[in-house]
């Protein structure tokens, strides 16, 4: 079953057909979501009532488009804000972790590494409730001891950010550590020989080398945060990020408005992904 070994033609055709079918399966739901964003009807289903852009730009009932739908726009903003916070925080901590594991030998390093991987194997919903339980305990204790009402520790954006950060950091660490592993440390030593101090050497030599990984980790972190559902669901307060807001709408029944939002999301994340690939090609 490799190109250099001749195979029977029928088998080969069947195999290719299977692979084609697989990609149809992958593409089907997304294509359908995208197509019905343009259907001139109250429901994202057949029959096709004609092409319209009202679900994007429509300003009056019954067809209010995405760009005039306040709650959705606000949720989009919330998601973007949370995503940026999570991405920035997890890239910063991930970079520290990568250096820690790459440059230092210490007791308990192996244990710490395994501990660092654990968030990937804890179900997101359990991660969410454990942080919810712990932060409420801290908030309750603060109230009992000093009558402090720490609103930030109640379900809300801070907890959402922390919850997503808690597992996305593992991923950013792995991405950044993989590139740091390939770094030729003699380059840093050369900088030291030329009179730079350690920090300058890292800043001017190592960090530029890591840039593609840092950008990649930032984009991945942002997208993972933007898409996260399970952990967010348990920690969300009154400001719902987009996935939660869309989920609430979907439960009540769907209009092509949701298709339009979804299509915009698809376009947005594809652009982001392409940008990242382009950046990494160049670097």
């Amino acid at each position: 079953m490799i190109p250099s070994i001749p195979r029977n033609g029928a088998l080969r055709a069947a195999y290719t057909a299977y692979v084609v079918l697989f990609f149809v399966y992958l593409a089907l739901p997304l294509t359908v979501v995208a197509a019905f964003a343009f259907n001139d009807s109250q429901f994202p289903s057949l029959p096709w009532e004609g092409f319209t852009l009202a679900w994007f730009f429509g300003a009056e009932r019954p067809m209010i488009g995405v760009f005039h739908e306040r709650p959705i726009l606000r949720a989009l903003g919330t998601s973007g804000f949370v995503g940026l916070c999570v991405a920035a925080l997890s890239v910063a901590v991930g970079t520290c972790n990568a250096f820690l594991f790459n440059r230092y030998e210490f007791r308990g390093k192996g244990l710490l590494y395994v501990l660092m991987l654990l968030p990937l194997v804890v179900p997101g919903i359990v991660l969410g409730i454990s942080i919810l339980v712990f932060s409420s305990r801290v908030a309750n204790t603060a109230w009992d001891l000093a009558q402090w009402d720490i609103q930030a520790l109640r379900p809300g954006l801070l907890l959402v950010v922390l919850g997503q950060f808690s597992f996305i950091t593992t991923i950013t660490t792995l991405v950044i550590a993989a590139r740091l592993q390939k770094f030729d440390r003699t380059l840093e030593e050369a900088a030291l020989n030329l009179g730079a101090n350690r920090l300058t050497a890292v800043r001017t030599v190592t960090i530029p080398y890591l840039m593609p990984a840092l950008v990649g980790a930032f984009v991945v972190g942002f997208l993972m945060s933007f898409e996260n559902f399970n952990t967010t669901l348990m920690l969300v307060g009154s400001d719902a990020p987009l996935t939660i807001a869309m989920f609430d709408r979907l439960k009540e029944g769907s209009t092509p408005l949701l298709n339009a939002v979804s299509l915009l999301l698809m376009v947005g994340s594809s652009l982001l992904a392409l940008l990242m690939i382009a950046f990494q090609r160049r670097a």
Partner: protein
């Protein structure tokens, strides 16, 4: 590098990791366990006991939901592997050059959009007024609208779809590292396609298979969105029980016990799989 500054650098780099892991991972999970051991005996009065775990074991609905979630997740993992393996093999070994990178990218594309959008797509396809139902009626295969949502098959389709990437990518990576010459040697030595698959390809791909299976299993077990949206109200998924105890009934003690049981199951399965195949978490994930 002087001793003190190296020490300072080390402490500064260790601090974020230590804070992150203790405050967001270790302590919250210990706290979750402690809460699960609390038994409410009156208003604001608690004792320590395993009563919540007892409730879990005594109530057939809870146990059944738990078993069902575990079995469906195993099934979803097996299906994902069966469906994904040939595709991964095709991309890693048969496709060449540009086709190969395009196919690889195509595999990734669906996963740049949120699970919610993917699930929504399946709802549009499968529901009573959906595309598949209309197609069946048009083809004369069904007399009236067919409801394809809200059953186990729909949940399965959604779960397999949602986790496919996490199976295909590690498989492609490991299959890619298998030298074609080894397969040729297998043929030279008189092997047939099935025997080569069994003796050479699958053993070589084992690390990829294991890490793919672990991730897919974890994702299915912890999934909330897909079972709820595609399986409907009676989907009986364990995460739904956790959600309803925590958010709807405000019974955190029981919810925490459920959460811990879920965590235990996933840890046991991950550990068991690694043990059986002689791998470590480090090589599989890191």
């Amino acid at each position: 590098m002087t001793g003190t500054s190296a020490r300072l650098g080390f402490v500064l780099l260790l601090a974020p990791a230590a804070l992150w892991l203790t405050l967001l991972i270790v302590i919250p999970h210990i706290d979750l366990f402690l809460v699960s051991l609390r038994e409410r005996i009156g208003v604001g009065q608690y004792t320590t006991s395993f009563a919540n775990y007892g409730t879990f074991l005594d109530e057939p609905l809870y146990l059944m939901t738990f078993a069902r979630t575990a079995i469906m997740s195993v099934l979803a993992t097996a299906l994902t592997l069966l469906i994904g393996f040939p595709v991964a093999y095709y991309i890693a070994k048969l496709a060449r050059g540009r086709t190969r990178s395009v196919l690889f990218l195509l595999c990734l594309v669906p996963f740049w959009v949120s699970e919610l959008v993917r699930t929504f797509g399946w709802m549009i396809l499968l529901r009573e007024t959906g595309l598949v139902s209309s197609l069946l009626q048009w083809a004369g295969l069904a007399a009236g609208p067919v409801e394809l949502l809200y059953n186990d098959a729909a949940i399965m389709v959604g779960l397999v779809y949602t986790s496919m990437l996490f199976m295909v990518v590690p498989l492609i990576t490991t299959l890619d590292s298998l030298d074609d010459a080894v397969i040729e040697a297998g043929y030279d030595l008189g092997g047939s396609a099935p025997s080569i698959l069994r003796e050479i390809v699958i053993p070589h791909a084992m690390p990829g298979i294991v890490s793919g299976c672990i991730v897919v299993f974890m994702l299915s077990l912890g999934n909330y969105l897909t079972p709820i949206m595609l399986g409907g109200k009676d989907s009986l998924w364990f995460t739904e029980l956790i959600y309803s105890q925590f958010i709807l009934r405000f019974n955190w003690e029981l919810g925490a016990a459920f959460g811990f049981v879920l965590l235990l199951l996933s840890s046991v399965i991950v550990w068991g799989t690694l043990r059986l195949t002689g791998q470590t978490l480090r090589e599989t994930m890191g």
